[in-house]
């Protein structure tokens, strides 16, 4: 990926992410998140992760965000007056965030080596990198146990969601 393309995509991603946090209407926040997830899928595609990019669009932008929008509309949430945390919390959060970013940039520029060398991202990839077949082979061999555990997780989540949404708490 050329630097210009990366910068454009990064700008779109950051604007979309800021939209999620700053827009006062929950529906607009959700749509901003959908845009962010789409641009993230483009970045995945350019990083030779075709299957992950497709899953990103189908699972995240498709399924999860539809669920979010469905709940927002079910609860009929209005654009409340921008409910923000107290000033002290906001200042502390901004301070901590800038400290974290400073640490990351410092680590990456100093600890550099192969990470700041662009050639690391230009080397040719093995055949079938990021393809469905390659990913499936890994899933059903080395990660088989985690894959099977995932099915239990999903069953538990389905049962939990149904029970929670159904029950009238007293």
């Amino acid at each position: 990926m050329s630097p210009a393309l990366f910068l454009v995509l990064a700008a779109c991603l950051i604007v979309g992410a800021l939209g999620v946090v700053l827009l006062s209407s929950p529906v607009r926040s959700a749509l901003s998140l959908v845009v962010t997830l789409f641009f993230m899928a483009v970045v995945f595609l350019l990083l030779d992760a075709q299957l992950v990019a497709a899953l990103q669009v189908v699972v995240y932008a498709g399924a999860i965000m539809v669920l979010f929008l469905f709940v927002i509309m079910l609860l009929n949430l209005q654009a409340d007056p921008p409910a923000m945390a107290r000033l002290g919390v906001r200042v502390t959060a901004a301070f901590g965030a800038s400290l974290f970013l400073l640490a990351v940039v410092r680590f990456l520029t100093r600890g550099g080596g192969t990470m700041t060398d662009p050639r690391g991202m230009a080397t040719p990839l093995p055949e079938g990198f990021g393809s469905t077949q390659g990913l499936a082979e890994l899933l059903f061999t080395r990660f088989l146990f985690a894959f099977e555990i995932t099915s239990i997780l999903l069953v538990v989540a389905i049962i939990g969601a149904v029970v929670l949404a159904k029950k009238k708490l007293t």
């Binding site: 800021l18 993230m40 992950v52 709940v71 923000m84 990351v104 060398d117 390659g134 989540a157 949404a165």
Partner: protein, 102 residues
């Protein structure tokens, strides 16, 4: 052709993750807090995919697959909890939900 070094992707991931953390800390609407968590998960996914490309191993992409599964399960259960809470308390403001606060 010039390409982007790995550190740019890691920096972008860190920036997006930080925006997500700020959303969790600053916003009071519990659904927006949830969306900020999804944003943080996606920032981590970006780092996984970039490192996967850098190291020429697909383990990172498999991990992204599992992260997506956990995110989907978390969204389903979390939104069910939000609906249950809203039904009983008529609010989604996290400052008003203080029963469990110490």
């Amino acid at each position: 052709m010039t390409v982007v070094p790995l550190s740019w992707y890691l920096t972008l991931g860190a920036v997006l993750f930080t925006i997500g953390v700020l959303g969790v800390l600053v916003r009071r609407n519990v659904i927006v807090v949830f969306m900020s968590i999804e944003l943080m998960l996606n920032a981590v996914n970006l780092v996984f995919v970039a490192l996967s490309r850098h190291l020429h191993t697909m383990d990172g992409q498999v991990t992204v697959f599992f992260v997506m599964t956990v995110a989907a399960a978390e969204a389903a259960v979390g939104l069910a909890i939000i609906i249950a809470v809203f039904r009983n308390r008529e609010t989604v403001n996290v400052d008003e939900l203080t029963v469990l606060r110490w």
